[in-house]
Amino acid sequence: MPFALLRYGLSKGHRPFRDIPATPDLKRSYDVVIIGGGGHGLAAAWYLSNQHGIRSVAVLEKGYLAGGNTARNTTTIRSNYLTSESIRFYREAVSLYESMSEDLGFNVMFSQRGQLTLAHSDATMRSFHLRAEMGKLAGARIEVVDAQTVRELCPHLHMDEGGLHEVLGGLWHADGGTARHDAVAWGYARGAAAKGVEIHQRTTVTAIRSTGDRVTEIETNRGTIRAGQVIQATGGLNGQVAELAGIRLPIRCFPLQAMVTQPLKPFLDILLSSANLHTYLVQSSRGEIVIGGGSDPYQLASTRSSFDQKVHLAQGALHLFPFLHNVKLLRQWAGITDMTPDYSPIMGASPLSNYWLDAGWGTWGFKATPVAGKYMAECVATGKVPDIIAPFALTRFDRFALLNEMGATAASH
């Protein structure tokens, strides 16, 4: 690599190179069609083409590559969940991020800086003990820390001693980290495209036709294609796309809002969240403070921002770091989250035999990008649902076998 770089540096007439090829014409048929060109769909395409040798794959993206929730999330990677099924799954997600830059040959800027969740009440401390023990059982690095350790981990934090939101301690998750969301999607897209996967941007699925229990044709705004197998990974619109295939999902849409400040000198080298204040903060590698994540209190399928939520997020951030009071906001945005009743995703088989679901990722999808892609690809390649994602089946609702992770989310719901 260094020699190639040197040669490139000394050569004349530099041509710009594209990591991702331009959208080709649609063929009439593909072995696998992936609906949704976000992180999850592209990761599945990468695993199909690079690990399973399935190259007749088309990724259909309604807008531009990774422009939906992949671009709108706040890039938290962690495995400190409540149920053993979730911890096992998200722990593999974290370990796949650890080697992702090397696996993809693309720098995803993974920074495993640790995540600290603050407790402002005894009840929260008790729930943290449960999460820490569940995490230790699954082999993740999670521990309950006292106020003094919180102060050492985050020296600039306002501890609010004697106040309404006094910091009593926290849940320290040393495996937690962050990565650049665009790079994750681009890395998978480039690797998949190099193996022959076609990425079709601005291609909207308008109808899904099936015969018996098999999907046969997918109608798009650019023509109709036949598909051997289909993966659906469409983020906020999962409920609506599944309905095109005649599948009802237990999903309700809520916008989740976030914002970033102007760049500041580095002062926050961990990921910090507070469930009581419904706020979490991380300083990006550019120095901006990313502040998330407030959900709107009623169902909406829109990416508009609202003043109320900005005020709410700003209040939380100012409570934790009062010196941010003069800092300006640079950007604000919202993403449509597809919330499930138990705050866990829906993965694997659907009522149709060749249609696979990767849905219900709500506010927790980015961290699962590599692991969801890996096991969705395995579903398609082997025709069987791997054991690790079996608990996340759509049928769990009929069996009342929920995986309740409501207490492990940092965003407000």
Binding site: C253, Y298, Q299, L300
Partner: protein, 83 residues
């Protein structure tokens, strides 16, 4: 949406209201629809009828709202006939 028309108190700030979720087409006491009622709530892209409560006056009412544009189309009390 920043204000909502309460059928009793008129146009009030949205912060005075509590969202009670979509009006359900399923019933919890019917064994055939209990799973749908508990887990599969209405989630259309478009107009949806839903329950709201004006907190200070404890007025529970229905609203029809567009879930993409966030426009409230009409509000009415459950006791009055649906227009």
């Amino acid at each position: 949406m920043k204000q909502l028309e309460c059928p009793v108190n008129g146009l009030r700030d949205i912060s005075e209201f509590q969202y009670l979720g979509p009006r359900r087409s399923t019933r919890s006491d019917d064994p055939d629809t209990v799973v749908a009622h508990v887990f599969f709530a209405e989630n259309p892209l478009g107009p949806m009828v839903e329950w709201w409560r004006h907190r200070p006056s404890n007025t529970v009412f229905l609203a029809e709202r567009h879930t993409v544009t966030d426009q409230v189309l009409r509000t009415w009390l459950p006791t009055s006939p649906e227009t």
